[in-house]
């Protein structure tokens, strides 16, 4: 499945069949600092992703304020 990452913006290919939390762990990304969007919809950590999904891993931490 295609996974869009940010800061910097880039796209990687990852095997499906894993949960959102597993994906974040494999990418060494903190769950508290990211949201995962699957085919345009926000999904929780136990959602299982498939090969056909288009995923965005969106960081939520900003360095400024507001």
């Amino acid at each position: 499945m295609k996974v869009l990452l940010r800061n910097p913006r880039r796209e990687i290919e990852v095997d499906g069949g894993q949960s959102v939390n597993r994906l974040l762990d494999d990418l060494e990304l903190n769950r508290e600092a990211h949201l995962v969007i699957c085919n345009g919809t926000l999904v929780p950590g136990d959602a299982v992703l498939t090969d056909d999904d288009v995923i965005e891993v969106r960081p939520v931490i900003s360095g400024g304020a507001g």
């Binding site: 508290e32 600092a33 929780p44 969106r58 931490i61 900003s62 360095g63 400024g64 304020a65």
Partner: protein
Amino acid sequence: MTAVGSKCRVCKAPAVIDLPRHNAHFCAEHLQQLCRRQMAKAIDDFDMFDADDRILVAVSGGKDSLAVWDMLIEAGYQADGLYIGLGIGEYSTESGGYVRRFADERRLNLLTIDLRVDYGYDVPTASRATGRVPCSACGLSKRRLFDQAARDGGYDVVVTGHNLDDEAAVLFGNTLRWDIDYLARQLPVLPATNGFPKKAKPLVRLTEREMAAWCLVRGIDYVVEECPIAAGNKHLSYKESLNAVEAKSPGAKASFYLGFLERMAPLLAGHSAAAAGELNACTRCGSPTTGEVCAFCRLVEKASAQEPVPVEMVLARSGPRGGANGRRR
């Protein structure tokens, strides 16, 4: 995606988000309900403002400021926005676009200031001219211009999108240094005093992740990319450290910050009043200042006299030096 196993704690519909600090999952509707209730509790607990007050929201194009503007309008408050064009290259161009589209689509009143057009400088140039790290020049400019706009426009309160993560990170930095003056002033609402307008932070009970989720489920487009100058600053490293703790101990950030407000801030209240001190009117602009000429007027004088500095020229400097924002009132 295969079927989601988790259900909303409230209605048992498929969940869109897990919030470990609440030990719960929520659907889009009840995530919004949670956010509304947390904001209302902050406004009420800290007596931030009421329905008759005119609110000026400091908007940057990021998730937090657009979310708080959206939430205030939805809750029936009278809230206008103020956007300041900081001149940080494409980042500022993109950020301004998100703010204008948000305001246009909802027919909200948006005030705008452009540092280069209105004051003859931008943040990269101010940083180079004054020797301040970029985040410091940016923060000084924004605070002063938000204060002035609130006074000129007759607004009762300036609202910012500072969230729980922002406040916990600042508290962490202030605590590492035991900076009592800053700790004493780190409150979610500051009353109007000495010519400064009242300031309030309605999102202090909500995390960055919750605010980003609010924007997603509400269809609010915001600038996702990080400010190129802020990358690598201390504020970000504090947030990363606190999130590492949060991952092991959900609720730690809320306990740290809200516990400070409940149990430590009252002990520092006397120090805060004593540290306020006497202020004069700046001889150039009339704004309150401890000296003869305020820091903003000194910055404008130096920065507007210098040739514009491209943002790329400050990028190499800002990362390794760590930037500012480690502490804030």
